[in-house]
Symmetry: C2
């Protein structure tokens, strides 16, 4: 893969946020020796380095009643070396969708000789493992894991920790193009290969996001993304005293982290989860005297924003869904201790204009989930490992 | 890449047409040793074998006033090892579109350090080279190459022969997904790696072809393809005396050939070109005593039909265009010496129903272009090589 070298990096405390880097070539061919003068501006990441990272990477597919055809396509786009972790919150009552997902996955894994783990968010063993490991933040009143994409994501992080992976990436199950899925996984690996710190994050910016409602129109920005980025940048700008537009992936659902970073971040429930990750990084490490873990502060946090060559084409969930995403994301920014009065003011104005809050109202404060590091790993693994076979999609004979 | 092994092969004379093989996994990871019992039904083609073929392959992009954004995307999806040959028939008068295409290509090649050739169909030097080499089938009354995709394709075959490539693949310039383009090139290489004869052809079947007119609907078959396949199969069936449905890619614009095969086929002008290739193969080698070159008949002709994982999303050209494609394709089948009265009868019925011909009319007989092998290679190269620098997109410094 060939990619731009970041032309600009914003530095806050020990956080390094890199400006958008575009992918120039999906497949850059065999390993070659490059003369140095060719390296200004663009770099080639060798396939071998990418594969070495993929071997240490788990790719998480959160799924909830998505079309099976799309799910199958997504699976077949993920590079073979990555461990697939499917976290499903699909219905099991009238129709057992989860069973169908499991069967489709098993069939694909059988024919492609690859390993995958598949688990339901309401799995009682997972719930028991969490309870015994003292990590009850994910559990609801019925003792099972709560609904919500964020809860599933944190569950997947815990499973990836147990599987001794070093990196974790998230890819939605409703993507129409396996080739785009493949590129996301490559971009994650490319990002980590560029990181100078073991605490790193890669966020995907789509080249275009086609709107299919009336013909075909290639939009650069989703509506929610545009708004989230604006206020995230406002939060940073007012804190720093000069304006920046560095954040272009505030809402990136497609993103990845080194597990060392993933372990030490607090997460927000629901659709605040992706913006909150950036907010958590800024809160923990964005100031001159960082509040986050010392080791991470010393290495620093690398954030990469990578623009794909492929457009992003996914199931359209409609306006309702968009509003449902906007409010929690802005809530995460609004309630950060870093957020100053000026930014709070313009966020309230925006939400009033969008009809998402009424006068005098504030956006909801995100429910924060404790850092995954707080779990008792031994106790969690003790319960889970005993049942690991039942989560495995590939039956070795 | 992991792909199905063909479960069925139809054999006519020395032609072997393989049933559709689905791609199962875009990226099958590092080279591994496979135990034999795992190889039934599915095979993994190692990346190294794919790259070895890509190095010997030219990928041709025919372009005519297509959107530059799409063209750029297509280029960036082509594996680095392939030689890109752009054959443009874009306008040069009011706006010099060809110049813009050339600039876009040069910029991409500069940053990705790759080689590409770009030539206009009306290039006077190309016309002179063809005339001096005694290959005047492509030339019009004004002494320049005629319009038409087929003419451009044959021109590209001649250039690939001169560049000493072994394989040639065609990819349209109006594809929305670079990731799909990448998969086409991989499928070509995978097909050739499976061939037992040096005379081989790979034709792409799209997993789905989304219709974007009203929302998003994933169709398995394009209208023209369905009809062309039906009558191509009828031609074969009546000749063989038992029914077959083996042809599923009669109209495949995305297809590739070994140059040894490409050199010995007569081609049809215009939109008959892709169906005519199959007709030419069947005419030359499909009977017990083959009429085509002896060496090719001895090795046999391998035809692979590969179904991609990615759907195919391209610029919608409307119904007019579809009719414009149907008539010449069916004309190629209709006028083949292999076509019996029964098939001719149902083709006329079909075209009457579609309103493409009137009562008593026949579909047009395709204009046939002489085999590329008939060119005087030395004379062609002598003229072209002198000007090769002006066709090159990468300026080496």
């Amino acid at each position: 893969m060939r990619i731009e070298i970041p032309r600009y990096t914003e530095r806050f405390g020990s956080v390094r946020i890199n400006d958008v880097q575009k992918v120039l070539e999906l497949d850059s061919g065999r390993t070659t020796e490059q003369s140095l003068h060719k390296n200004i501006g663009v770099q080639k990441i060798e396939e071998d380095n990418i594969k070495a990272i993929e071997e240490k990477m788990a790719i998480v597919i959160p799924i909830r009643d998505e079309k099976l055809k799309l799910f199958e396509g997504v699976i077949s786009g993920i590079p073979h070396e990555c461990l697939i972790i499917v976290v499903s919150n699909s219905q099991r009552k009238q129709v057992d969708r989860f069973k169908m997902e499991k069967e489709a996955l098993k069939q694909l894994c059988h024919f492609t000789r690859r390993q995958a783990l598949v688990i339901h968010q309401k799995d009682p063993i997972l719930a028991r493992a969490l309870a015994e490991a003292g990590y009850t933040d994910l559990l609801g009143e019925n003792g099972l894991m709560r609904d919500g994409k964020a809860e599933g994501m944190v569950g997947a992080i815990l499973i990836a920790m147990m599987a001794k992976k070093e990196f974790i990436g998230f890819i939605d199950a409703d993507n129409y193009f396996p080739g785009a899925v493949w590129e996301y996984a490559k971009c994650y690996a490319v990002g980590f290969s560029m990181a100078s710190s073991p605490y790193a994050m890669v966020r995907i910016l789509w080249h275009y996001k086609p709107k299919v409602s009336a013909g075909m129109y290639f939009k650069k920005w989703g509506r929610v993304s545009e708004v989230t980025n604006k206020y995230m940048n406002s939060l940073i700008s007012t804190k720093l005293g000069f304006e920046t537009e560095i954040i272009k992936t505030g809402n990136a659902g497609e993103h990845a982290m080194s597990l060392r970073l993933a372990e030490i971040l607090p997460y927000a429930s629901g659709y605040a989860v992706e913006p909150q990750e950036l907010v958590s990084i800024l809160e923990g490490f964005g100031e001159v005297s960082p509040k986050g873990p010392q080791m991470a502060a010393k290495h620093g946090i690398d954030v990469f924003q990578i623009e794909t060559i492929n457009p992003h084409l996914h199931e359209e969930k409609g306006l309702e869904h968009l509003k449902g995403m906007l409010l929690p994301g802005l809530g995460a920014i609004y309630h950060s201790p870093l957020c100053e009065a000026e930014t709070k003011h313009i966020i309230r104005d925006e939400l009033l204009k969008q009809g998402a809050i009424t006068h005098g109202e504030e956006p909801p404060k995100p429910h924060i989930i404790n850092l995954p590091k707080k779990i008792d790993r031994q106790k969690f693994a003790a319960v889970m490992k005993e049942h690991l076979d039942s989560y495995s999609a590939l039956e070795e004979k």
